[in-house]
């Protein structure tokens, strides 16, 4: 018996398992469009609650993975929250990329990991400056490792659109990295 079948029958443990398996990717995708972290959490909860009460019947395995399906749902949830939330414009400060919490100090102990992380963090910072539609494509494909087809299904657009957005986004990110890490600085490092 699949987890979804058990969720349909009201099994809270099955819902908990599904949540622990997919909540990370769903929450991170919600944060791309959410005006603030609480809105992303609300959208994540609404998504899983919807899945548990009626969405489990709507999911068709042939249409893609459950994670991709949930990302599409949470995207709609966040957009609805944004529309209801006094029609606030998207703030880059509010949708800042995830920052490491307690273990940042441990990484800074050694020089090499520090430099490596600096580049990664610079890339995340540059990602924040991209338009949302480019940001979400990079996040879904490069970070969450969804396929082009799954990403297109999540975003409701053509695969070609996904490819072109990703190409433009990566070009912009690469350019930004070049500005932040010029050759002389890298050689010195």
């Amino acid at each position: 018996m699949t987890l979804l079948t058990r969720v349909r029958q009201g099994d809270a443990a099955a819902l908990s398992t599904l949540y622990r398996r997919h909540s990370g990717v769903v929450f991170r995708h919600a944060r791309i469009h959410a005006p603030h972290c609480d809105a992303a959490a609300d959208a994540t909860q609404e998504t899983f609650l919807w899945l548990a009460t009626q969405g489990a019947f709507s999911y068709d395995r042939a249409q893609g993975s459950l994670a991709a399906f949930l990302c599409g749902v949470v995207r709609n949830q966040v957009l609805r929250i944004r529309a209801q939330d006094a029609r606030q414009p998207l703030s880059l400060e509010d949708v800042e990329a995830p920052s490491p919490d307690g273990d940042e100090d441990a990484i800074q102990d050694a020089l090499a990991p520090l430099l490596a992380q600096e580049r990664g963090q610079a890339l995340l910072d540059a990602l924040r400056e991209l338009p949302p539609e480019h940001r979400e494509v990079v996040a879904l494909i490069e970070f969450e490792e969804f396929s082009y087809a799954e990403t297109a299904a999540i975003l409701g657009c053509a695969i070609g659109t996904v490819r072109s957005r990703l190409h433009r986004a990566k070009a912009a990110l690469h350019q930004r990295l070049m500005e932040l890490f010029p050759p002389e600085r890298r050689n010195a490092a």
Partner: protein, 180 residues
Amino acid sequence: MNNADSRFPAADVHDAWANARIAWRRTGPPDALEGSLLKQFAVARTDATSAAHPLRPRVGGWRTRWLFPQRLAFAVAGSMLLAAGTGIGWLATSTGRSADVAEVTTPFMLVAEPIGNTLDVSQLLRVSVSREAMLDFGIPVPPQKLHEPVRAELLLGARGEPLAVRFVDRPVTHQRAIFY
């Protein structure tokens, strides 16, 4: 890009992406969210309807209702029959309400099964719907167009029941380049 790549070694780019991926994936929902979700789920389960009867799948979502090929074919055939049979002329007036403003419309899509392959249309209604409302049906909406309305035309029956719908795109305001 090739120029840039030659100045920025592939290993550095790879490291940057790998570390960004690690940092990105480190974020998760708040710990309290799972407890809140399960509490809400328990409330939903204790609801009389959900407790007494298992939830049924939704039938007739927008995909099956509007995009099902047979129904779409019915919609096209129905709209053609309607235009030819009744000769009311509303079809012509709705596709071009004035001579200088053209509109792009989709074919009519049935929202109810026709009786005897004919539509008993008594009224054409033009509506404007918020895209935000479409989110409720799982229809993808580009964020930048969230506040733009969607215009549609509804065919209503004698009792006001909706029979078919089609979408109307915004008026094309550009001028024709060739006159004949």
